[in-house]
Amino acid sequence: MEEADEMVTPGEVLGKATDLKAGKGAYAASHNNTIYASLTGFRRIQAPPPASNDKRPTVEVTGHKAHGPVPEPGSVVIARVTKVMARTASADIMCVGPKSVREKFTGIIRQQDVRATEIDKVDMHLSFRPGDIVRAVVLSLGDARAYYLSTAKNELGVVSAESSAGATMVPISWTEMQCPLTGQIELRKVAKVVN
């Protein structure tokens, strides 16, 4: 059940916390238990899931212009490798989920996060090269500089790489990619395509 959408802006009262739950784009103020909007958009009422014992419907603000995506722990990102060092590879996060970011965020793949098995035997230089496009998952917000990324899953790793000859290489195993021009084989932590 949905009621007529009205446009609201941040700070506008959406209802009382006693008879509504605050969904996304809304918040409940404890001091006067009132629910306010925190974004510009349409006020929508969602009926509570029949299972839940809390019978309050949820009010949320939808259809607003959201700010650019920001990486969060657990989100799958697509990043371009910029530097490869002995123990880490740094990469610029270009997409969070299917959305491209407005400005890049810096991420780091540490040696122990490259693959699930034999993590002590990982050679960074045989896993990534600068310019590679990798699919990775955000482990944590990381440190002051970078987000910590992991490629330790089959479907994670290099999804696109150029050979030294400058051609887009074809993956031939989960550790190898081949240059269509020269036939030369280069080593990578290759991602299995999910489909």
């Binding site: 918040y27 925190s38 510009t40 607003h64 212009k65 700010h67 400005e103």
Partner: protein, 256 residues
């Protein structure tokens, strides 16, 4: 070619007449009219528009009388390398003037404290915890300084933040009052500010009816304070309405 590199001749502006304070303030204030003919408790008509700058995540343009400002919001984006890790988001503000904003060329530089005052007025209204570790930058440029610059910048900035889709507890509206002799005049113009005896700036979240920032200068009696604050609060709630309609128009326009 005619260019004279290096040589910077001393120049002066021919129209800089001695600004002297009109005598009328001494006693019979009441027959005095404001430079722009407004009533003492009447604000200048406010014009707002969001989405002024495409390169920014959000932006707004504000025009009150001859006071014209643009505010751009960038982010949430990667914090500068220098900064240490933090679980909550950061707000970073900067206010600057164009060289032609002020009557005397390049005078706008003497507003260094504005950046920190903008920050203080806004930070209480933004849900910093919604963008951990990243920074939201709020940059303001005063195109023309026509008085009440800081309040206009603050209101405009909160619109720009809303336009950027940054989560906020409420908008922030700001108004200032000048004390001239026995009179309280709201939303003063540059000329009035130049000879004011005192000033009061109030920034608040109109819907939550909370003050985020309040500053006085000059000498104030309690009744004056009560009156001035009430004036500002009323003006802010009016201003808030104008800001909300601006946001709604923009949003419904983007729906098409």
């Amino acid at each position: 070619m005619a260019a004279k590199p290096g040589s910077a001749p001393v120049t002066y502006s021919p129209n800089l007449g001695q600004k002297t304070r009109p005598p009328i303030f001494k006693d019979n204030d009441l027959d005095w009219v404001r430079p722009d003919g407004r009533g003492f408790h009447q604000c200048r008509p406010a014009f707002f528009r969001t989405g002024a700058v495409n390169s920014a995540s959000g932006s707004a343009y504000a025009e009150l009388g001859s006071t014209k400002v643009i505010v751009s919001v960038f982010g949430p984006r990667e914090s500068k390398k220098a900064m240490m890790y933090s679980d909550t988001g950061r707000l970073n503000c900067n206010v600057s003037y164009t060289t032609f904003a002020t009557p005397v060329r390049g005078q706008g530089s003497d507003h260094k404290e504005f950046s920190s005052m903008l920050l203080k007025a806004l930070e209480g209204a933004i849900m910093l915890e919604t963008f951990p570790k990243t920074t939201v930058d709020v940059f303001a440029l005063v195109l023309e300084s026509g008085g009440s610059d800081l309040p206009v910048v603050i209101s405009c900035a909160s619109l720009a933040l809303a336009d950027a889709g940054i989560m906020m507890y409420d908008l922030v509206a700001a108004v200032s009052v000048s004390c001239l002799g026995k009179n309280l005049v709201i939303d003063p113009v540059l000329e009035e500010e130049s000879y004011q005896d005192g000033s009061l700036m109030l920034t608040c979240m109109p819907s939550r009816y909370e003050v985020t920032q309040l500053t006085f200068t000059g000498e104030w009696s309690t009744p004056d304070i009560n009156e001035a604050m009430q004036l500002c609060l009323d003006a802010c709630s009016k201003l808030g309405k104008v800001m909300r309609t601006c946001l709604k128009e923009a949003a419904s326009a983007s729906q098409e």
